[in-house]
Symmetry: C2
Subunit: 206 residues, 2 copies
């Protein structure tokens, strides 16, 4: 039996989302079929209008309703600290902490296998920012993954070059967010790399 | 930081889908933000139009583009066998097998905890079908779950009553799909109920 077209189309669209296979896509579609016409239409139009009125902030490249974004315009922030992240989602995560500096969203990581080179990310724009304004600290907050580490390393190399040619002030402090055991985690189940980083990064007790 | 409204709305809508928590919803939303305007609009309108032109077949209550549905109209089917399932998704699953009889979609299972009684399902319509036409076999293919078994049991009880008052012919054979070890499964990891059913349902070897 062939499925009704609109059902098959919806299943196909859901299947294209990351982490959603064809079975989950079918389950979601048939779930929607049990909802009212109005609910389904609302869901559809919400998605269709998702990108309406959204822009990239021309300073930090976060997704925003205004340019510059609210964070870049916020007068209460410490504008001497810049935190480099991969994605807008990372900004949301960090905004739940006490961090009150600025951000720079790279838009991904260097990943040759996916055809993403430094030129596809907002690295040139980051270096420009650092040249134009003397930040005190740059926090590298890319993911603690292979690609995240490589991207951080690439950026730091570029900054070092610019420091040598005096285009970026030498006193810019570059830091990396700590790697270690996640809070609430279980030491015995931690992988050895995490554990090694946790020991390397140990701090004075009290 | 508060998220742009359209992003928050989309995250909220995704979160309402079964099995999708707020983190997955955010991930899906930000994934869509990386897609082209056209792709996002297409996705939205596909969902908005999902229910357009879909009806329930008045015979088998499957979701369909026509009434009666293609299966009920199909001349090549064995119209003497009727298979009772819970959901349209079950029909799709069974259509991948060699089964070539007809279906009756209940639209759920009896589940007092969710406020679903026999009157909320297409049980009366099933009994009507059985009264109006003499099927040779009725296959109970509800899920092998507590609710699925209870629903099957309830329906069979109702049929037995109607057989006694001669409203349904006594030679209607009622069967239940086999419970046992799934193909490719591992005996040592099977739960004891499944294993017990597998032994009860054992068949002659060759």
């Amino acid at each position: 039996m062939s499925l009704p077209k609109s059902i098959q189309k919806t299943i196909n669209e859901f299947s294209r989302l990351p982490g959603i296979g064809s079975k989950t896509a079918a389950r979601l579609t048939f779930y929607l079929l049990t909802k009212s016409n109005e609910d389904v239409k609302n869901f559809g139009s919400t998605i269709a209008n998702l990108k309406e009125g959204l822009v990239f902030c021309s300073k930090c490249f976060n997704i925003s309703e205004s340019d510059p974004c609210k964070i870049c315009l916020d007068q209460d922030r410490n504008i001497d600290i810049l935190c480099v992240v991969e994605e807008p989602l990372d900004v949301i995560a960090l905004e739940k902490t006490n961090y009150k500096g600025l951000y720079h969203v790279l838009g991904g990581v260097i990943s040759p296998i996916d055809g993403v080179g430094p030129e596809n990310l907002r690295i040139a724009q980051l270096l420009d920012r650092l040249k134009k304004r003397n930040f005190k600290e740059l926090i590298m907050a890319t993911d603690p993954s292979l690609e995240g580490e490589a991207t951080a390393s690439y950026i730091v190399d570029e900054i070092e070059k610019l420091k040598k040619s005096d285009k970026i002030k030498k006193d810019l402090r570059i830091t990396r967010i700590a790697r270690g055991l996640p809070v609430g985690g279980d030491l015995e189940y931690a992988d050895e790399v995490t554990l090694e980083r946790a020991i390397e990064g140990r701090r004075k007790y009290r």
